[in-house]
Amino acid sequence: MSVRSPKFEVRGRWLGFSAFQKRNTQYAIRITLLILIPILILIPSIAHAQGGADPNRPTNEQCLVCHEEPGLSMVLPSNEVLPLSIDPGILARSAHGPDASEEVRCVDCHNDLNGYPHPPFPDVDFRTWQLKMSLVCGNCHEDQAVDRQDSVHARLIAAGKFEAASCSDCHGSHDVFWVDAEKHEVDRMDQVDACAQCHRTIADQYKLSVHGQEALKGNPDVPVCSNCHPAHKIQDPRSAEFRLKSPELCAECHADEELMAKYDISTDVFDTYVADFHGTTVQIFESVEPGVYTNKAVCSDCHGAHRILPPTSVNSSVMSANLVKTCQRCHPDANENFTKSWLGHYRPDWEKYPIVTAVQWFYYLVIPITLGFFTIFVGTDIFRTLKNKLARSQKPVDAGDDASEGGEDNA
């Protein structure tokens, strides 16, 4: 009786989840990477060897002579309108503005527009051109560009899903914003908003969560999107690898005693999870079969992924009154009793779980007593057997019953 939702299966299919397709995609990505990485590394180093950027290339002022004009735009062959006006104020405030560590000129990115008249605009639609323009980011930001090659967004684009995010979708283009929160005052919610451009539903869910609510208040301790889905390297959260690794992801904060002490949250959650059936299995899968899906629950299956509510909230999926429903998602025949078989991330003690603790103490007593009894017997038996053998080997061998017993008597 499969409860697997058809939607999930369909979504799995278009991403190429079947083992064969997945392997092919991986090979394709690896080969692409093999070719791309040396190129990405070589091009800037060659450019550098030749003395860096040409100091005589057109300055921003020269470009802005025309492009400062508001309302400039052109119509692309695809009938889309391409705006051509640039607000110099936006450029100046951007991370590529006067405060940048190296001077960035318009033509450094628009390297096909060196001079006027500009060459004819390529016969592509806006998005294709935007994706093409995103490639130039890697000329300076090599590490991020290489990281991005393996991301879920890059894979989707490679598979023809052009709406998947590219550099400028998150960072902005002319208004590219500062990301270094330590040096510049960056609101962490900006990052959530960047993701929300495409993942609006999830962002809305997140803002309702205990993490999102705190992030909205400016709390720096709670995770925003990129803490769990690292930018650039962002993995497909539906992949087996991500699923198996996800408990460790949560544990990064939730096993951190200093951090959790601030909010009076137990740091046992990861250890108690791993000690139980679900966690043990997931851990074994991660070590033995990291690419294989397991139906054993990970954190997010019970707590939710984005709309995580505190267990005290009435709407929380792990609130005791809602627990049956949560368990039934995987255990359709579960009843109220069944939910109590999960110790709720507590270590068993006399007060909370007397039966478990009684069993534990029963064996804490029985095991040493039994094994102690066995060891005493076997130990003395070993001693006696060796002694008898020694006595027998020292005496001349005679066959009679009495002789052998006599040897034992000597001991």
Partner: protein, 362 residues
């Protein structure tokens, strides 16, 4: 000397087969179970890998468990048959003599007694082992049932029994394996390799050492006690076999029913219902959008603003001619620039109005 070589029949073929099944199922259960009890251990992970993953390991554990349960059911009725139909004495039952034997053997081992105690068909060590297996199989069987079928179990028992069963299953397993390693391995493998459970035969020497009392009773003709007459055996079997068969069938059906619980869905838990991709605006629009109403007025397929390149061909552009606005300023005398060029810097002129040669080269 010839007398010494005499052998006695100790175990029949059924006992030997029972032991073989127990040996195989116990060892498999121990290996596939301990690797789950200590999953962080590298040896465990290697064994799991060799067995083809944790799901395979668990299937193997479950199959061995079924073998052991079937064996146990068989054993119950086989012992019942031997007691009721064949009228065999209850030689495995522990008694006071076993306590005395244990104390005596300990004293002998410590040198406080000259001779080892004389022991009957099953000495106290063998009885300990047999009853330990009975106890262990009961505990492991029932707790294993509960762990395998938690939904079924919690219909009757509080949920806390499941983690309690897990605790018991784990510690009982450790106890059983260590007991076997200490007690069994020492007595029948190291002290001397007792092959009687495989061959069915035991030598006179072994009998003297381990079952001296039994040997005496055999030699006096007192053991084994005679079988009841054939007619009585037949009468008893006619009563016992159908009854036992029915009970065995009932036990097998219960086992089947409980072993086939569907505890959980077999797929990955359903994904969250929220849609992952739902853009706030249609994809493909640039981040810095100019006034949209301006853009909407643009007639299609027409470039609104593209300054016509005006090549400079009538004079060279060198320092003498550098100040373009001297002649070409708006309201200038020669080719005046448009009004909106008023605040343009002189150096910017050639950006749009290149020198004639450059134009021809393009």
């Amino acid at each position: 000397m010839r007398e010494r070589m005499r052998e006695f029949v100790r175990f029949g073929p059924i006992e030997r087969l029972e032991h073989l099944f127990l040996l195989i199922s116990f060892t498999t259960l121990a290996i596939t179970g301990l690797v789950q009890a200590f999953p962080e251990n590298n040896i465990s992970l290697t064994i799991i890998r060799l067995l083809g993953g944790i799901e395979n390991t668990r299937t193997l554990h479950h199959i061995s468990a079924i073998v052991l349960v079937l064996l146990s059911i068989f054993h119950i009725f086989y012992v019942g048959y031997k007691i009721y139909v064949l009228k065999r004495p209850l030689s495995m039952l522990p008694g006071l003599k076993d306590v005395r034997d244990a104390v005596d053997l300990l004293r002998y081992n410590l040198g406080l007694r000259r001779r080892p105690p004389e022991m009957d068909r099953y000495n106290f060590g063998e009885k300990i082992e047999y009853w330990a297996v009975v106890w262990g199989t009961l505990v492991m069987g029932f707790t294993g049932y509960m762990l395998w079928n938690p939904v079924f179990t919690t219909r009757f028992l509080p949920g806390e029994f499941i983690p309690a069963a897990k605790m018991a299953h784990r510690y009982e397993a450790i106890l059983a394996v260590l007991s076997i390693l200490i007690w069994h391995v020492w007595h029948v493998h190291i002290k001397h390799f007792n092959k009687s459970i495989f061959t069915g035969r035991i030598t006179l020497e072994e009998m003297e050492e381990e079952h001296a009392l039994e040997l005496k009773r055999i030699q006096s003709g007192e053991w084994p006690p005679p079988l009841p007459p054939a007619a009585e055996r037949w009468r008893r079997a006619m009563l016992y076999v159908p009854l036992a068969g029915l009970m065995a069938l009932f036990m097998l059906l219960t086992t089947y029913y409980v072993f086939t619980e569907q505890t959980a869905i077999t797929t990955v838990p359903p994904a969250p219902v929220e849609k992952a991709y739902l853009p706030a605006k249609p994809p493909g629009l640039p981040t810095a959008t100019p006034a949209p109403e301006m853009a909407m007025e643009i007639p299609k397929q027409r470039v609104l603003y593209a300054p016509e390149p005006m090549p400079i061909s009538s004079h060279p552009v060198d320092e003498a001619w550098a100040e373009c606005s001297a002649c070409h300023a708006p309201y200038g005398y020669i080719h005046p620039a448009p009004l909106d060029h008023a605040d343009y810097e002189a150096s910017a002129c050639t950006t749009c109005h290149p020198f004639a040669k450059e134009v021809s080269q393009r």
